[in-house]
């Protein structure tokens, strides 16, 4: 079964996205040898079933905290087919370095600009197509708390997996 890892810093809506994708069934357990809890669940996207892993919050691929170490270990040991890098659209500039790190590491990234509703309230508009061109990866805008953009995300994941074959 292919794996999807949800990656990003704390408080960007990772766990809400996780439950949007997996429904309600999740297994929470300590990552082996640590006290950090990791949730895993299954998601059916198109006609394929994926294992979805909600990684602990990480600001960088160079870990400082135990959570960050676990997040990176998941990338290294679980070899996800897709890494969903979620960031807070209000703080694009501060969170984009992590996207670049993931790309440097050769990870199959889909970039998710989450909390776009609050960004718009704050008067911040992001041109996702422009980012997609600059980074050559899929980029899309979502609001995970309301589920906005979820269907588009599933569609993009399907396309992405087809490209892998």
């Amino acid at each position: 079964m292919r794996k999807i890892a949800i990656f990003g810093s704390p408080n960007v809506g990772k766990s809400v996205m996780f439950s949007n994708l997996t429904g309600s069934y999740a297994i929470v357990s300590n990552y082996p040898g640590t006290t950090v809890e990791v949730s895993r669940g299954k998601a059916r996207i198109g006609d394929e079933e994926f294992e979805v892993i909600d990684t602990p919050g990480a600001y960088s691929l160079l870990p400082v905290t135990e959570e960050e170490r676990v997040a990176r270990s998941i990338l290294i040991n679980e070899r996800p087919s897709i890494v969903l890098h979620m960031l807070d659209a209000k703080n694009l500039e501060r969170m984009l370095p992590l996207t670049l790190q993931l790309l440097e590491a050769g990870m199959p990234v889909i970039l998710i600009l989450n909390i776009t509703d609050e960004a718009e309230d704050a008067g911040i508009n992001i041109d996702a197509n422009r980012l997609e061109r600059d980074l050559s990866i899929p980029v899309l805008a979502t609001v995970s708390t309301t589920g906005k953009g979820l269907d588009i995300l599933k569609g993009r994941i399907e396309e992405y997996v087809k490209k892998l074959l």
Binding site: S19, A105, L131
Partner: protein, 485 residues
């Protein structure tokens, strides 16, 4: 692996040269690209260094040489140089994609957010949240109305008689009958306690907590108390488990897992066990002292003083550095009912699965204590310190039961008060001592589970002596100043 065609970030020449030299020495597969691994090596990531040392044995000395040479070439740490370069690139890309407009709304949210974090206005807001959320909703409605209904009506009139009937009909072995449906039976006490008392309290608490969480108030509260918490060796982050403690200390102790350092986890666990009364206990204590506002103030003052003093002491004694605390402050939002219900449900399920076995074990232990006579012996033993802090003998039973069910202990005091056996002073002393006294058996088990057997037992012994010590000192002080509460 899908190739992505993003043009790599270019670093300056010496760094690029080192990177390509390092890449050529890495022969094994690390999942992360060789470039990424090389960058992590240059930033001296211990875990990656160890991994590479293990896999590129004979090439590792050359790798360390390259790292040292590269470091020597720059006056600043490589970590800084690499992240600055990366941030430049990120900023360039981000700025070309962002366009700013006039803000939609003059934000009332911003104003609210400010007054929540300002120490002058934040305090009263916190008190209001605690009063309505905790005291009114959890204490009065959850621990009062709902518990009464479930305990008296559902269990008292229906489930317990029904189970007792079935068990006594089919099992004729009296010991076993007692174990299942006796006064402290697994069904009559263990299951009932978990379902009829803990469940409604914790459910209402989780519900209130989810609302507070969903609005974004918690991080602001964390900021508000961060400075004060630093004094007691904790950071603002500890607000979450400590606030949860007012709902149920056992659950809050589980949540200390979220604290970053071992030192913080130990201090928080100790403070929870000692000075934070859970809602079950608080309900009864408010009932006991409700008609004595002065007594209530004395009780509150002593508990707060103990909290600060022990926290301060623990922070002084325990080695370790000051916790750093940095938290994103998300904007305030209107809570969403579906979110709140979902969060409440998930937590409730998680909590219940963790807690139910503990209650079952506890009722088994009580049953064992009853039939072996250990209980009577313990009551006699507890009689000494109880008399020593100026309380009547009968209070010992309340204290022992308080260990198995904190609110039972307080309820036992209630009976003594009604019987006119306790003066105002004795009542306040008893309430203070009982609040500080050993956590309930479920919490003791969780303490042992989370902190290990040695730490769990050591804490309990300390708490035992400290709670009676405080009662003793309070008794002396009240007598000294001949105060009659």
């Amino acid at each position: 692996m899908l190739r992505n065609f993003y043009r790599k970030i270019g670093y300056d020449d010496p760094l690029e040269l080192s990177l390509s030299r390092l890449e050529s020495l890495l022969l094994s597969d690390y999942t992360l690209s060789k470039r990424s691994i090389s960058l992590l090596l240059l930033q001296e990531d211990t875990e990656i260094l160890g991994l590479v040392k293990e896999r590129e044995k004979e090439r590792f000395s050359e790798i360390t040489t390259i790292i040292e040479e590269t470091k020597a070439h720059y006056s600043q740490p490589l970590l800084l140089i690499i992240s600055q370069r990366r941030q430049e690139e990120a900023s360039r890309i981000a700025r070309s994609a962002i366009s700013l407009k006039e803000k939609h709304r003059r934000s009332i949210k911003g104003y609210l957010s400010k007054i929540m974090m300002n120490p002058l206005t934040g305090g009263p807001i916190l008190l209001a949240v605690l009063y309505y959320g905790l005291y009114k909703f959890v204490g009065t409605f959850g621990a009062g109305v709902l518990v009464d209904f479930l305990e008296e009506k559902v269990f008292g009139n229906f489930i317990n008689p029904f189970m007792i009937n079935i068990i006594t009909r089919y099992i004729h072995f009296e010991l076993l009958q007692d174990l299942l449906v006796g006064e402290y039976g697994i069904i009559t006490l263990g299951v009932r306690y978990a379902v009829a008392i803990i469940l409604p309290i914790v459910a209402t608490f989780f519900f209130a907590f989810a609302i507070v969480e969903d609005t974004g108030y918690l991080p602001r509260l964390a900021m508000l108390v961060d400075r004060m918490f630093k004094r007691i060796g904790l950071s603002g982050r500890a607000v979450i488990p400590l606030v949860l403690g007012f709902g149920c200390d056992t659950m809050a102790t589980m949540v200390t897992r979220t604290l970053p350092t071992k030192r913080e986890r130990i201090i928080a666990t100790l403070l929870l066990a000692l000075a934070i009364p859970c809602s079950a206990q608080m309900g009864v204590i408010l009932g006991l002292l409700g008609d004595k506002p002065i007594g209530l103030i004395v009780w509150l003052g002593v508990i707060i003083a103990v909290f600060m003093f022990i926290g301060y002491l623990a922070a002084k004694i325990m080695p370790g550095e000051m916790p750093t605390f940095y938290m994103e402050i998300p904007p305030l939002r209107l809570p969403k009912l579906s979110n709140i219900l979902r969060k409440t449900w998930f937590r409730l399920r998680w909590y219940f699965l963790e807690i139910l076995p503990i209650f079952l074990i506890a009722s088994f232990i009580i049953w064992l204590g009853q039939i072996t006579g250990v209980f009577n012996f313990l009551v006699k033993l507890l009689g000494f310190p109880v008399r020593w802090i100026g309380l009547p003998n009968e209070a010992a039973v309340a204290f022992l039961f308080g260990f198995f069910r904190r609110d039972y202990g307080a309820a036992g005091l209630y009976d003594l008060k009604k019987a006119g056996l306790l003066s105002g002073n004795q009542l306040v002393i008893a309430c203070v001592t009982l609040t500080l006294f050993l956590p309930c058996i479920a919490q003791l088990m969780i303490n042992v589970k989370e902190r290990g057997i040695r730490m769990g037992i050591a804490m309990s012994i300390f708490i035992l002596f400290f709670s009676f010590g405080t009662g003793y000192i309070l008794n002396i002080l009240l007598t000294l100043f001949s105060l009659h509460l």
